[in-house]
Symmetry: C2
């Protein structure tokens, strides 16, 4: 999917919500355990309940890997079920070099390889250019690079300042912008760091940000919209647990929570989106 199609979808749905499919056998409502593939049945219910409000789905790959080969089949069925016009993110945080990176890219981008056809994948920057650029050679596919994350450990290295007083996350962003343009590269920017949102937007005025940390982790959607929206909206805000584990009747609970966020987002689009 290219950025024009993504922005069109955001506009038509009045939403920039990404629903995270962190589907855990121990957390899904027990009635799904009757199904032959409980996690797929759960994902299907979540997708049915939220597709009107969500512009992206983000399966958390760890949750499928942990189930062994069967988990990959569940992920495949989930991908096949997601409507084709919705943006898909493989939240895999891969990071390796050269032909290994290419294998990861093929895994998630090339249906002829593993079967998956994700629009994007999250990637870790530590190994540098040759660990990122192999993902950038696929048309209409995106790298979503870790920049400033929402967890406590983001303090350990991402905030380290170099000899010119530039923090590592900013070096990562500026460097990565030499490798890929705003049509193929997004950044992960945690919403719990409201104080940095404007700064991060100034570094990368045109790029999309994938923003976790709203909801369960305490970030403010209003601040994200106010400080980081750009002329192409430039935001995908993720919610996982707050939507998918909101209640046992997914058709009601997940739909209610997704609609609530969507309505707030529509308001902010009216307020802050200057096309």
């Amino acid at each position: 999917m290219n950025s024009i199609q993504l922005v069109q979808q955001i506009e038509s749905k009045g939403s920039f919500l990404c629903v995270g499919l962190d589907s855990d056998p121990r957390l899904i409502p027990s009635n799904f355990n009757k199904e032959p593939d409980p996690i797929f049945a759960f994902n299907k219910a979540v997708i049915d309940a939220t597709e009107k409000y969500a512009v992206a789905y983000k399966p958390n790959i760890a949750f499928y890997e942990a189930l062994g080969p069967k988990g990959w089949e569940t992920l495949q069925k989930t991908m096949d079920y997601i409507p084709k016009n919705v943006f898909t993110i493989a939240d895999a945080k891969r990071g390796d070099i050269g032909n290994t990176a290419l294998k990861y890219a093929q895994t998630f981008f090339e249906p002829a390889s593993s079967g998956f056809n994700f629009d994007s994948i999250t990637v870790a920057p530590y190994m540098g250019e040759d660990s990122v650029s192999p993902f950038l050679s696929f048309e209409d596919k995106w790298v979503i690079l870790l920049a400033l994350t929402s967890n406590q450990g983001s303090q350990d290295f991402q905030m380290l300042r170099d000899e010119n007083n530039v923090p590592l996350y900013e070096r990562v962003m500026r460097k990565a912008m030499e490798w890929g343009d705003a049509g193929q590269l997004m950044f992960v920017v945690g919403a719990t760091r409201t104080d940095y949102l404007a700064h991060v937007r100034a570094i990368a005025p045109d790029h999309f940000f994938l923003v976790p940390g709203v909801g369960a982790q305490g970030g403010s959607l209003a601040d994200v919209a106010k400080y980081a929206m750009n002329s192409k909206v430039g935001l995908l805000v993720n919610s996982s647990r707050g939507i998918i584990y909101a209640g046992d009747d997914i058709a009601v609970s997940a739909a209610r929570e997704a609609r609530k966020i969507k309505e707030e987002m529509s308001m902010y689009l009216d307020q802050y989106w200057i096309k």
Copy 2:
């Protein structure tokens, strides 16, 4: 496997060789394509040919993922085939937080989860402590953390110096040593950076290093042994392509290349290992 068992194995085999199983359908000898599972048949031949000389095997997870659910079955069969006294490394370079990190750890460490029972996994440090520590809570399991890698892109961020003139890779190592001890934490240190080997050993005198980049990537085994061996040897030196793709008759070619490296390693153990 604990460090005593690992060192015993190194001593009894006179080798600190790790064989990387970067097994690619397009690169394996064509006679394996007759087999029902070509990659497993190839891995089996490589293991048979090299197990006398290798103390560790390192499947490169990308190569199995790229084959879809069948690839995970191939990886499982390969793991079942590797002799139990040999150290195993999931070269997965995972890096995510909290319960996601725990899922990755379960995937590779807990047979009851995905079926795998790896001794160790490679992990990326960018997200900080809460992306590393979940892997450290498993008994006799190891984190092998990316520190200074052997690729060109290692220059992009790993070498950045902070306001105290300390490079990022050193900050990563010193910080990580607060999270895990030498019995559960190793570092990836590329052999192509001979000039840094003594420095890296001074930072972490007791920890094992997993050293890629010898052979195909041009690193010198002699320098690695000379500058980075410690009282527990402290080295696992990886070779992948130089062994597994050395010829079409794996029983001959892989055995010959592994034995050659092993003999050089035995010499360095005699010369530099001060127990």
